[in-house]
C-alpha cells in the first residue's frame, strides 16, 4: 500500500510555498516516511526551524512545531531539549541559516553533542530572498550578489560538523531519496548531535543562473556527483575529481551526550543531599 502522507500533513496547510521544480517536497516526504518508521508518538516530537525556504516545512506537519528567527533554530531547540530531554527534537535548516547567520550556533551544538537531529537543506543559495550567494555556494558559481562569479570559498558542511565535534555526520541528496530515508532514520536513532546535509535543487534562483537548464538537470548533477561513501573511498584519486561522498561519513558512539551528562550530575547532587 502506498504511504499515506496525509496522516502527517496539517489539514488546510497545503499547497506549500516551494517553487515548481524544488526538491524540498521530495525531502519532506522522506522525512515523513523516516519518522513514521520510528513509531514515535507525534506528541513527543518537536520540529524547529529558522528562516528560509526549508524553514517553512514545520508549518505543514502535525507535530509540535516552532518557526524561529534566522539562524537561531538550534539555539531554540537546545532550550527545548534541555527542558525535556526525553523528547525528540529535530531541526530543519537551510545552508545560509545553518552555516552563515547560524554558524556559531551550529558549531556549538556540534561541540555540545546535544541529542538533536539537524537536517541541513543545502541548495547552495539564498532562495527565499532571491538568489544571493551562501557559505556553500561553490567558487565561480553565479548569484545575484556574485554577478561575476563567486570569489568566496565554500564550507564543506560534513567536514565542518566533524571538526566541531558532532558525533554523527552524514550526507544525502534529494535525488537518492530511498537512501535518504535510511540516513534520516540513522540520524534520528543516534544518541548525540546528528548532522545530515541534504543536497537540494533550487532551479529558480540557483539553477537558471548556473547552466542547469531544467530541474531535472540539477537532479542528474546530484546523480553524477555524489558517490556512496564506501565506493568513494575505493576510487583512485584521479576519479574523485568533482565527486563527493554520501552516506554516513562519521559516527562516534562513545561521545557523551549533553543532556545525559547534565542530568546525571543532577542525580548525583540529589543523592548527596
Amino acid at each position: 500500500m502506498a504511504f499515506d502522507y496525509g496522516r502527517y500533513i496539517r489539514p488546510g496547510k497545503l499547497p506549500h510555498i516551494w517553487c515548481p521544480g524544488c526538491s524540498y517536497g521530495m525531502v519532506f516526504k522522506a522525512l515523513l516516511r523516516a519518522v513514521d518508521s520510528q513509531k514515535i508518538d507525534r506528541n513527543d516530537i518537536a520540529l524547529v526551524s529558522g528562516i528560509g525556504c526549508a524553514s517553512r516545512l514545520p508549518g505543514y506537519v502535525d507535530f509540535n512545531t516552532l518557526h524561529t528567527t534566522h539562524g537561531r533554530a538550534l539555539a531554540f531547540a537546545t532550550g527545548i531539549k534541555m527542558a525535556k530531554p526525553d523528547k525528540h527534537v529535530m531541526v530543519v535548516s537551510g545552508d545560509g541559516d545553518a552555516t552563515a547567520i547560524g554558524g556559531n550556533h551550529f558549531i556549538h551544538a556540534c561541540r555540545r553533542n546535544i541529542d538533536i537531529t539537524l537536517l541541513v537543506f543545502n541548495n547552495f543559495i539564498y532562495g527565499m530572498t532571491g538568489g544571493q550567494y551562501s557559505p556553500t555556494t561553490q567558487t565561480d558559481r553565479f548569484a545575484t550578489t556574485m554577478p561575476y562569479g563567486n570569489v568566496d570559498s565554500p564550507f564543506n558542511i560534513p567536514e565542518l560538523a566533524k571538526g566541531a565535534g558532532a558525533s554523527f555526520v552524514a550526507r544525502g541528496t534529494a535525488y537518492h531519496a530511498a537512501a535518504l530515508d535510511k540516513l534520516i532514520i540513522e540520524a534520528m536513532r543516534h544518541k548525540g548531535f546528528s548532522v545530515l546535509e541534504i543536497i537540494n535543487a533550487c532551479p529558480t534562483t540557483f539553477g537558471r543562473r548556473n547552466k542547469f537548464r531544467s530541474p531535472t538537470d540539477m537532479l542528474l548533477w546530484m546523480k553524477d556527483t555524489f558517490v556512496p561513501e564506501e565506493a568513494f573511498r575505493k576510487l583512485p584519486p584521479e576519479k574523485t575529481e568533482g565527486k563527493l561522498p554520501m552516506g554516513i561519513l562519521y559516527r562516534r558512539e562513545d561521545a557523551k551526550e549533553y543532556c545525559e551528562t547534565y542530568y546525571s550530575l543532577v542525580e548525583r547532587l540529589r543523592k548527596q543531599t
Partner: protein, 376 residues
C-alpha cells in the same frame, strides 16, 4: 520559616527566580550581571533545574524561549551590549507570547561603555529596543529586598500575561549587599500561565475570543500547535495583509495597557504636601530619598515619586503629580532619557528639570538637594 540572608542584588534576583518556580536559566557571561548566572549555576542542578551557558546572548535568549515553550519558567540575565543582542529574540517572544524574564543589570554605554559602573541609559532600549510594535513590562527595583520581590512579580506578570518581562536595575544595586528576608514558600503569591481547558483538537494558541490573554499549552502536552515569528492568526499560522495583523497587534498592546492597575507599581514618599517632587528610579531613587529628607530638614517641602514599574510608564500618576507641585526634578544616570517621559506627562503644567550623569559614579543626594533648592 523565612530566611534572613546578606545578599547581593544579583543574588537576590536569582533567589527571587527560584522562589517564583524558575527551573531554567540560559545566559552568556557579562559584567555586571554575571552573579545571577553564577548563583543559579550552583542552585539549579541541586533542584533538578536546567542551567545552560550558551555560545552568545542571542542563543541564550533563544534557549530561554525554547525552555519556556517546553513548560519551564525561564530566566536570562545580561547587561548593556548583551541586552542589545537579545533584542531580536526578545521581539520573537513578544509576538509569539511566550513568557520569560530578562534581567538587564544596566551599565554605561554605548558599546562596551563602562562595564563595571552603573548606568540607566538602557531604559529606552528596554522600551523600544526591538523592531516593530509591542508593549513592554519593565520593572526597576532599587533595593536588594525589592529585587527579590520584583523578580517574583516579574515571573508572575510574565506567566499571567504571556509576555516577556524585563527587570532593569543598575550595577550599584546589583552588586550592593543588604540584609534580605526570603519569605517561606507560599507567603508570596506565585502564578502560572493560563492553561487551555478545551480538548487538544479544538485548541487555538492565539484564540482571543475569551480575552486578550489566550490560554497557553506547552509543547509535548498533547496540544500540537505551531509557533512562528510571522504575524499569525488564532491557529498560529502565518497571515499576510490581513486585518487580523492590525487587531492582533492592538490586542498585544491592550493586554498590558488595560491591566495598568495591576502592573504599574510605585512608591510615593512625602508627596502629600510637596512643592517639589523628585522622580527617580533605581539607585537614583535611593539618593533622592535621602535628598528629600535633607530638604525637609531644611524646611523645604520635597517629596519622591519612585516607579517600580517604568514600562508601562506611570502616565496618570505623573500627570496628576505635575498639577500639584511647582517643579519635578529627574535625576538619572544617562544624558536624558526618562526625563522626556516625565515632560510628556507633565504637559507643561510644571517645569521638569533633569540631573544627568554618565561617568560611572552615582548622583549624590547633595546634587539633588541643590537642584530642589534652585530657583526657590
Amino acid at each position: 520559616m523565612s530566611r534572613v540572608l546578606l545578599l547581593q542584588g544579583n543574588e537576590a534576583c536569582a533567589e527571587g527566580a527560584l522562589y517564583a518556580g524558575c527551573t531554567f536559566f540560559a545566559g552568556y557571561p557579562i559584567t555586571p550581571s554575571t552573579e545571577v548566572a553564577e548563583y543559579l549555576a550552583k542552585k539549579l542542578p541541586q533542584i533538578g533545574g536546567a542551567f545552560l551557558q550558551m555560545e552568545d546572548e542571542i542563543a541564550a535568549m533563544a534557549a530561554v524561549i525554547g525552555g519556556s515553550l517546553a513548560g519551564r519558567k525561564a530566566l536570562t540575565a545580561t547587561s548593556g551590549p548583551g541586552f542589545s543582542l537579545k533584542q531580536e529574540n526578545l521581539g520573537f517572544a513578544m509576538l509569539t507570547e511566550i513568557p520569560c524574564v530578562v534581567v538587564n543589570v544596566m551599565r554605561g554605554g554605548p558599546s562596551t561603555g563602562v562595564p563595571t559602573g552603573p548606568g540607566q541609559s538602557d531604559i529606552m532600549q528596554c522600551r523600544w529596543g526591538t523592531h516593530g510594535d509591542h508593549p513592554v513590562i519593565c520593572l526597576t527595583p532599587a533595593y536588594v529586598q525589592e529585587i527579590f520581590t520584583e523578580t517574583v512579580r516579574a515571573f508572575n506578570l510574565s506567566e499571567k500575561y504571556r509576555t516577556p518581562v524585563i527587570l532593569a536595575f543598575d550595577e550599584i544595586v546589583g552588586h550592593m549587599r543588604e540584609r534580605i528576608e526570603i519569605p517561606e514558600p507560599g507567603a508570596l503569591q506565585v502564578t502560572g500561565r493560563p492553561k487551555p481547558q478545551c480538548p487538544p483538537e479544538e485548541y487555538l494558541p492565539y484564540d482571543d475570543r475569551k480575552g486578550d490573554v489566550p490560554p497557553m499549552a506547552n509543547f509535548f502536552e498533547g496540544y500540537r500547535f505551531h509557533v512562528t515569528g510571522l504575524n499569525h492568526g488564532p491557529d498560529g499560522f502565518p497571515v499576510n495583509a490581513s486585518p487580523r495583523i492590525h487587531t492582533d497587534e492592538q490586542r498585544l498592546l491592550r493586554k498590558v495597557e488595560s491591566n495598568r492597575a495591576e502592573i504599574v507599581r510605585y512608591e510615593e514618599h512625602r508627596l502629600e504636601d510637596a512643592e517639589v517632587a523628585v522622580f527617580a528610579y533605581g539607585v537614583c531613587g535611593r539618593s533622592a530619598k535621602t535628598a528629600v529628607e535633607t530638604a525637609r530638614a531644611e524646611g523645604i517641602r520635597a517629596g519622591l515619586f519612585r516607579p517600580l514599574t517604568i514600562w508601562p510608564f506611570p502616565e496618570a500618576q505623573v500627570a496628576s503629580l505635575s498639577a500639584r507641585v511647582k517643579k519635578i526634578v529627574v535625576p538619572e544616570l544617562s544624558l536624558g532619557q526618562i526625563v522626556h517621559e516625565v515632560e510628556r506627562c507633565a504637559k507643561g503644567r510644571c517645569p521638569v528639570e533633569g540631573i544627568f550623569r554618565v561617568d560611572g559614579d552615582p548622583i549624590t543626594p547633595a546634587q539633588i538637594v541643590d537642584r530642589i533648592k534652585e530657583g526657590r
